[in-house]
Symmetry: C2
Subunit: 184 residues, 2 copies
Amino acid sequence: MANEKKMNFVILGLLSHESLTGYEIKKRMDTTFKFFWSASYGSIYPTLNSLVQDGLVTKLDITENGRDKMLYTITAAGKELLKQWLVLPVTKDELRYETLMKVFFGGKIGPSLTLEHIHNFESKIKNDLPSLEGAVQKLTEIQDEEDDHKYFLLTATFGKQIYEAYLEWCEYAKKILGGTSSNQ
Amino acid sequence: MANEKKMNFVILGLLSHESLTGYEIKKRMDTTFKFFWSASYGSIYPTLNSLVQDGLVTKLDITENGRDKMLYTITAAGKELLKQWLVLPVTKDELRYETLMKVFFGGKIGPSLTLEHIHNFESKIKNDLPSLEGAVQKLTEIQDEEDDHKYFLLTATFGKQIYEAYLEWCEYAKKILGGTSSNQ
DNA sequence: TACAATATATATCAATCTGATATATCTGTC
DNA sequence: GACAGATATATCAGATTGATATATATTGTA
């Protein structure tokens, strides 16, 4: 249990909220989870198959609008295993920023080319920030005390706050690197 | 070139500053790079061998204190390839926080158990913050305009600022989750 | 109406990386 | 002299990515 792969639990978690297809699971990752987790189809589909094999999820072949889909639903055993995993201590929190790596070695290419990486980073953050702000706004308005919304609000707020910190750092970086006229 | 693995360039970058053993490379990752990049021995040693094969790095078998070491040194070709990679646009910046995942699904286990994850997260951040603050302090005092220190300062400052943002979020999370008396 | 572009949907695989494990020597200390 | 901890290298099963392939439905537009 302790060393089972995490993708199992990420998918069980999503399915604990509602039944989904593999494609929909990928979409959730690319939107809701975007800033703290990601996964590729190459891990989602094989994981779903193994979860079915282990009786943690059931697979239903449905046809919608003349299109074939596999709808996955979590079982009681799946819910139980998810809970067991959720209480285990976190094993890894990882930040892997290629931008920071290129900034670290920026002395090899000079301030002007390094600033390009920082501008690209800033653009991506500015592009993603509004959806996080919207999520925080929407979740703040909900008053329901019983629901999961508190937890969703916490993750969205995390994203909003660190993205704002990123933008502050970008301003600082531009000040530090932009003051020089040399390009190499 | 565009799709060569990143570990090549991380190692070339470190070796562009000074010659190192595989063990020392790992140590740099675990200290200096800790908060924005990591690597295991299982990728470092094989990568070093392939870099030697490609003529980007030379390997020197030395004996120090009666102990055998392999010292790796970057070649001119290696320096050139590193520069070419550094100017390429960043392909991926990734945050993968298991803590956030467990907070997101916190409704399944309740506020009390979710708070434990947040406390653990907070402890780790508080433990790592002083070394980042020390690095920022030290690098700020350096006045040398020609050196790489500006770039090191930028990465250290990034770490300091986001770690501070994390701690602010922890306070907020404790307020949101701590106010309830229910434990499930 | 025809066409292109995009979204929906699943599947597979080589290349890569992690985490664990193994082995061996050196250093400090009790 | 026994033990823990640091130094040093190596390998491998299992997990994951990024690319690629295939096929149908929907939407916009000319």
